[in-house]
Symmetry: C2
Subunit: 120 residues, 2 copies
């Protein structure tokens, strides 16, 4: 079974995660057959490792990880590949793949332009 992880940075302020919770809820409404979990690089739970564990427990065998970051800096270029490799070693029977950061998506950028126009 396929599953999805929305992977964000994390922050000290718990309210920071609200759009991530909303994102997971939108996903669950629209693609209920593909379980989704959030995961955070730091400061918030669950970690990537724990989110994979949660999805495994639901029967996931193939997990797509979507980095919900705009830019690809040190976190995605350095920290994330190391983390992903450690998770692959820990879950050798699970297929783990990662998409580019959502900031690479023209559709996402266009949605931001629309948001700016609306508020002009």
């Amino acid at each position: 079974m396929k599953a999805l992880i929305l992977f964000g940075h994390g922050a000290r302020d718990m309210r920071w995660r609200e759009p991530f919770d909303r994102l997971a809820a939108l996903w669950s409404q629209q693609i209920p057959s593909t379980p989704v979990e959030l995961a955070f690089l730091e400061l918030m739970e669950p970690s990537l490792e724990n989110a994979i564990g949660l999805l495994c427990a639901k029967g996931a065998t193939s997990i797509t990880i979507v980095p919900v970051f705009f830019g690809q800096g040190g976190h995605l270029r350095n920290d994330f590949p190391v983390l992903l490799e450690a998770c692959r070693r820990q879950y050798p029977d699970i297929s783990l793949s990662a998409t580019p950061a959502v900031g690479e998506s023209e559709t996402v950028l266009q949605a931001i332009v629309k948001f700016g126009i609306k508020h002009l």
Copy 2:
């Protein structure tokens, strides 16, 4: 004249800003009558203050600032209002307004869901 600032966090890795540059380019193509500048909270230039200065020099009198952040944590709830207030004192003749973070936009979240579906 109205103008727009796309305000991001900033990062050490210069490649981090690529989606921001793309965003500003999309804006300029689609709304060429409203000048746009990027601005960064830290680690990258220009600062918010300097971006406002650049737009003033182009004749802007009313500037909308779009925080290109997903979540609203300490940076947007604490640092940004202080920064905005300091900019208002520095540019008393410019009308400065700020939108919510782009992560509050349903259209942006929906675009991320679409991106996830495409990569499933």
